[in-house]
Amino acid sequence: MSTKTPPETSSDAPAIVLENVTCRYGALEVFKQISLGIAPGQVTVLIGPSGSGKTTLLGLMNGMVRPQSGRVLVRGQDLARADLIALRRRIGYVIQEVGLFPHYTVYQNIALVPRLLKWEEARIRNRVEALLGLIRIPADRLNAYPDQLSGGQQQRVGVARALAADPDILLMDEPFGALDPITREQLQDDFLALQRRLHKTVVFVTHDMDEALKLGDRIVLLNQGRIVQAGHPFQFLLQPANDFVRSFVGRHRLLTAIRLEQLQPWLPSVQVAEALPRQEARARQKAPPGWLLAPEQPDSEPVLWQRGRAGLQRVQARPTVLQATDTLESALAVLLSRPGSVLLIRDEPTDQMAAATVADLQGALSQALRELNPPEAPR
């Protein structure tokens, strides 16, 4: 953040705050006295049935919708007294219909906000080219018009345009809602990979619970202009606040929505070795207890060993390895089909391995929940 940051915005202060906001369209009351804080560097998903006010809530955050009463603070600044045009140039915005300018090329579309901010053309060109790599659009599409791109490509360009001036806040209104399921999943995965690198404050509107559970660090469930429940995706799955949440989440999602990568921090890690330590070394070793994956003989199949007080114990040859992006459901399917077996979970980007038994998964879930649990502010 720049040096001009007002003192009330420290790194863990909410990036966006809604205080007792009431919002009406004529006689229709969209919100009554709603309060919400958006944590910086996280993906907050606003979800709810249609008419629940989630898009209006998003509109409040960049001044597209003005509240009848209450305050909206962005980076500590009250929107009622802010220069909205300057503010919006520092907030990314992506909508379902993409909204690319049809008379602008891909380059001109992405360059839009930097040009409004009067960057130098060389800097803009560098930025656009860097973004193109980030969103995986080939550079020869720079001079294409939006209608010459596929729906998925258009939305990638839409995301690039929102990121062009490197805003710390990104507002996304059902950005992947109009795409076919395969493209949607691709864009979701790319978004997650991008977010892991950029750590933007993202407010993401969707009506799709699977998408919310997949992308959200925090989910805010709205119904009829009220916040029904707000919290980590696990809390929605394991501790729904009431029957509305229960039915909105759907029981079937409990297993399919939790991905192993979310549980990995709480699972014991596995050390991988080229070969087993030699006999004498093994005996003297004062290594901490844990898992070791190493072949018994050089060039033979890998074997899972458990290091304990009694030394190294052979557990299982050729254990099943799942990817961290797989779901809890697939892990349980493997573990329950071979009682007593141990499963390995491999995180592709970091190449970290974790081991899991049924008990480990259960422990990880409850520990995750305990750590997540009360920091939810009362409202």
Partner: protein, 243 residues
């Protein structure tokens, strides 16, 4: 049935060619007349074009301005469109005739001024209507993102709304201009010159070649203007419509 349909389709597809052939035939038939009066033909064509040029110089900015001021407002829009439509229902001879007593006190009852004025009035409907339609038809999501990404309302209008409406506006101008070419022939009636003089003169003298020569040149002018503006319109619409 489908045979007949295909036959009609073929006939319609060949219609421009049939017309071209007819025009070429007429040209051959009228060649002696046009050659004999070539100086006059050029003069009258020039007068005709001058009427169009003078009236459009005022009609286009006026119509676009009215359309631009009323596109977001229902009542002024209805008022502007209503009065422009009302003007269109007045027969051209009557409107040109009405100019005489209206402008006579100003010393301009006949000649170029009332003719140009009448042409301006006739051109307003297509220009205003297309300007309004074009400005209104810009997709809402495009306007919403433009605003949400930090464009000022002024920038949204001039960089997004107006450029996207421009092909529509140009098409309105094209319609107005081409119909003005036809209507301007009546201007000869109030002494403004133009190719109408051959039509009226030919009728009075029962001289078919003169009438046909006037009509042919007027048609050629209209087609030439139409093609020019159409090419221009295509150039501005180098992007296709969004799906």
């Amino acid at each position: 049935m489908s045979m007949l349909g295909r036959w009609i389709e073929k006939l319609l597809a060949s219609l421009p060619w049939l017309l071209a052939v007819t025009a070429a035939g007429l040209l051959v038939k009228l060649a002696p007349f046009l050659w004999a009066y070539r100086d006059l033909a050029l003069l009258l064509s020039w007068q005709h074009l001058r009427l169009i040029g003078l009236s459009m110089t005022i009609a286009v900015p006026l119509g676009v301005l009215i359309g631009g001021l009323t596109y977001g407002r229902a009542l002024p829009g209805a008022l502007a469109l209503g009065s422009a439509s009302l003007l269109m229902t007045i027969p051209s001879i009557a409107l040109f005739g009405a100019m005489i007593p209206l402008l006579a006190p100003l010393g301009a009852g006949v000649g170029t001024i009332p003719a140009v004025l009448a042409l301006i009035l006739y051109s307003q409907l297509p220009i205003i209507r297309n300007t309004r339609t074009g400005l209104q038809s810009v997709p809402a999501p495009v306007l919403r993102t433009a605003l949400a990404l930090g464009m000022s309302p002024w920038q949204v209008f001039w960089r997004v709304r107006f450029p996207l409406a421009w092909p529509f506006i140009l098409s309105g101008i094209r319609i107005a201009m081409v119909s003005a070419v036809g209507i301007a022939s009546v201007a000869a009636y109030i002494g403004a010159g133009g190719l109408g003089r051959w039509i009226f003169g030919g009728i009075r003298r029962t001289y078919p070649d003169m009438v046909l020569a006037g009509a042919l040149l007027i048609s050629l002018l209209a087609v030439a203007l139409d093609r020019t503006l159409f090419t221009l319109q295509r150039f501005f619409q180098r992007y296709r419509e969004q799906p």
